[in-house]
């Protein structure tokens, strides 16, 4: 199944693409978690991937984030097939092109908010001052500039998630992948976080949220529905451009 691009755009617009990707787990008993899926994510998109548990959305997230490699098919990050790259190159590309936000925040507990954001900026040839400035500005973007010297344990869940978002955007990635970003938050914090995501949208950056929460998905502008390792729907919402419904 091929989801056709919603409208004609230059190939440079595609920041992340799955091309006929399958992922099979196990050797004796094969589980096809993802079955021949193709998907293009373009700059400026705000999309969600939804589906019940076991539908393959987590597997898809791992592959989109280049944390995992497909059994078949290609993953292209800015046009480069990462399945052919060595770990060091692949890691570098992941660090440059993709930002992650997780359900459990995954902040490093012994580092301050600033230290956590700075971790994303390590080994990039930046001076300590540049690193600090960029991390501070990312924290200010999520409204936590004042609390840069607080450790994760001193912060609420919502604040921790905002630190995680600051960490994800500090490297100025082409796409931010969020895995159930509101799953561990109460409704007001969840709303706040979704608002931040909406604000972070820009013509250069795509935001992709993986969720099982339809309310969250409804706030985005393109919704991709998954079932049994396949994409079953790709709809535009809120005047968005994601199209090509096909099931």
């Amino acid at each position: 199944m091929k989801v056709s691009p919603p409208r004609e755009k230059g190939a440079d617009d595609v920041v992340l693409a799955l091309d006929g990707v399958s992922r099979v787990y196990g050797t004796e008993v094969e589980v096809r978690a993802l079955d021949d899926v193709s998907l293009d994510i373009r700059a400026g998109e705000f999309l969600s991937i939804v589906g019940p548990s076991g539908s393959g959305k987590s597997t898809m997230l791992g592959l989109l984030g280049v944390l995992d490699l497909p059994t078949e098919g290609a993953i292209r990050v800015r046009g480069t097939d990462v399945t052919r790259l060595a770990d060091a190159e692949r890691s570098r590309l992941r660090g440059e092109a993709i930002g992650f936000v997780f359900q459990q925040f995954h902040l490093i507990p012994h580092l301050t908010a600033l230290g956590n954001v700075e971790t994303a900026l390590l080994y990039r040839g930046l001076t300590p001052r540049e690193r600090r400035t960029r991390a501070m500005s990312a924290l200010e973007q999520v409204g936590l500039g004042e609390r840069h010297d607080h450790r994760p344990v001193q912060m609420s869940g919502g604040e921790q998630q905002r630190v995680a978002i600051a960490r994800a955007i500090s490297t100025d990635p082409g796409v931010v992948l969020a895995d159930e970003p509101t799953g561990a938050l109460d409704s007001s914090n969840a709303e706040n976080v979704m608002q931040i995501f909406a604000d972070l949208q820009s013509p250069e950056r795509a935001i992709c949220i993986v969720t099982h929460d339809m309310h969250v998905a409804d706030a985005t502008r393109r919704r991709i529905s998954m079932l049994d390792g396949r994409i079953v729907a790709d709809e535009a919402l809120n005047g968005g451009s994601g199209m090509g419904v096909d099931s």
């Binding site: 548990s53 959305k57 987590s58 997230l61 791992g62 984030g65 944390l67 995992d68 770990d87 060091a88 692949r90 890691s91 570098r92 590309l93 992941r94 660090g95 440059e96 992650f100 997780f102 359900q103 459990q104 995954h106 902040l107 490093i108 507990p109 012994h110 580092l111 230290g115 971790t119 994303a120 390590l122 080994y123 040839g125 930046l126 001076t127 960490r167 490297t171 895995d179 159930e180 993986v210």
Partner: protein, 395 residues
């Protein structure tokens, strides 16, 4: 370079975040290095004490004892002519002969006769140069002089211990009774480190010995020879110089040689110490590997997120290797300092001269670094192999 600093920063942040654990894994290298440094340092310092004593004594004094020729019934002596021959050797700067007299009971005061008959005080006939040759100063008064020698006056010098035993006060006019003959005490000789028996001896001139004690001739039975240069060679030729191929022999020895041998550091003990310390270091290394492996599991989420943020497997491995390196460096330095402190304490307490090689300290600290890095290899590779997807628990 910037990358190196960043790695060091990440490693130290990881270590300082868990201070107790870091301290515990540092204990291995600290104990290992300090044990080796302390054991070797104490061993060498105790010898350093002997070496310092050797320095004080000088290693250029030769003792020559007359040995029996074919004569019977008489104590062997070295003839006056032979003594002067020894004195004319090019490297010899001083020669003094001594002869111990027998069957003399020395009594400091009446009533002590029984005691001093049982434990006789040595009575030694000698020349005026003895203090110079032995390089021993006088505690008080003067030594025997040329006038005493010529006149055969009944004067005596006593050793420092004997003076203490007698309750002799400096400058006091006092006599000492030798088999009933009163001798005037003119001085007290300081301790003779190489001949402790002299510390409780009475010294007379040969003239007095011949006049009062039926000595046939003023020939010594022992010579003290000072030869600052070529000491060993001089000691070797003295027997020939004394005997000139005749029957009257002599044995020459350098008493400090024995001390010198004692002062040599016991290599086998040192090796054993090094082996034990090495074993302690290896055990410490196993501890590092153990604790760090557990730490890698506990920090799997951190490792996962770092991988997601673009750090490669290699970077993760180096990060953990750097943690081990920092443990090794600080453990090594602390261990060396603790070891040096122990050596210093023991040396101060026992009055040793502290002997510690800085190169040795640095060397053992380096060994600790090596052990820590090797110990860090397994946990680092384990950290690098972790799959980020498994540790991040997506969805």
């Amino acid at each position: 370079m910037r990358r190196f600093r960043e790695l060091v920063g990440v490693a130290t942040a990881g270590l300082t975040a868990r201070k107790v654990r870091t301290l515990l894994i540092m204990l291995g290298p600290i104990l290992g290095v300090s044990a080796i440094v302390a054991a070797i340092g104490i061993n060498e310092s105790s010898k350093g004490h002997l070496k310092a004593k050797l320095q004080e004594l000088g290693t250029d004094l030769i003792v020559v004892n007359a040995s029996a020729g074919f004569g019977f019934g008489q104590d062997p002596v070295i003839e006056a002519a032979a003594v002067s021959r020894v004195g004319r050797l090019p490297d010899v700067v001083a020669v003094t002969g001594t002869r111990q007299l027998s069957d003399i009971v020395t009594v400091p005061f009446t009533g002590a006769e029984d005691y001093y008959r049982a434990f006789p005080v040595p009575v030694i006939a000698t020349g005026p140069e003895l203090p110079d040759t032995l390089e021993v100063p006088m505690v008080s008064g003067r030594f025997l002089n040329a006038f005493d020698e010529e006149s055969g006056a009944r004067v005596a010098v006593i050793g420092r211990d004997l003076a203490d035993e007698y309750g002799y006060l400096a400058g006091e006019s006092r006599t000492i009774e030798l088999n009933g003959l009163e001798y005037g005490v003119v001085g007290v000789l300081d301790w003779v480190l190489l001949e402790p028996s002299m510390d409780s001896a009475v010294f007379l001139t040969f003239a007095a010995a011949v006049a009062d004690w039926e000595l046939d001739d003023p020939d010594p039975s022992r010579l003290y020879v000072r030869a600052p240069t070529n000491t060993a060679m001089v000691a070797k030729e003295i027997p020939t110089v004394v005997s000139l191929g005749g029957p009257d022999g002599a044995n020459a020895s350098v008493p400090t040689d024995l001390l010198d041998a004692q002062s040599q550091v016991d290599e086998s003990l040192n090796n054993l110490t090094k082996m034990m310390g090495g074993l302690a270091l290896i055990v410490g290394g196993v501890g590092i590997a153990n604790v760090m492996s557990i730490s890698v599991i506990q920090r799997s989420s951190e490792i996962g997120i770092r991988r997601a943020l673009g750090h490669s497997r290699g970077t993760i491995a180096v990060q953990f290797l750097f943690e081990a390196l920092v443990v090794g460096v600080f453990g090594g330095i602390l261990g060396a300092l603790v070891g040096a402190g122990v050596v210093w304490g023991v040396a101060a307490q026992r009055g040793y001269t502290m002997v510690l090689s800085v190169a040795g300290l640095a060397g053992w600290a380096l060994v600790s670094v090596g052990v820590a890095v090797v110990a860090g290899l397994y946990p680092s590779s384990k950290a690098a192999r972790l799959e980020p997807l498994e540790t991040l628990r997506l969805g």
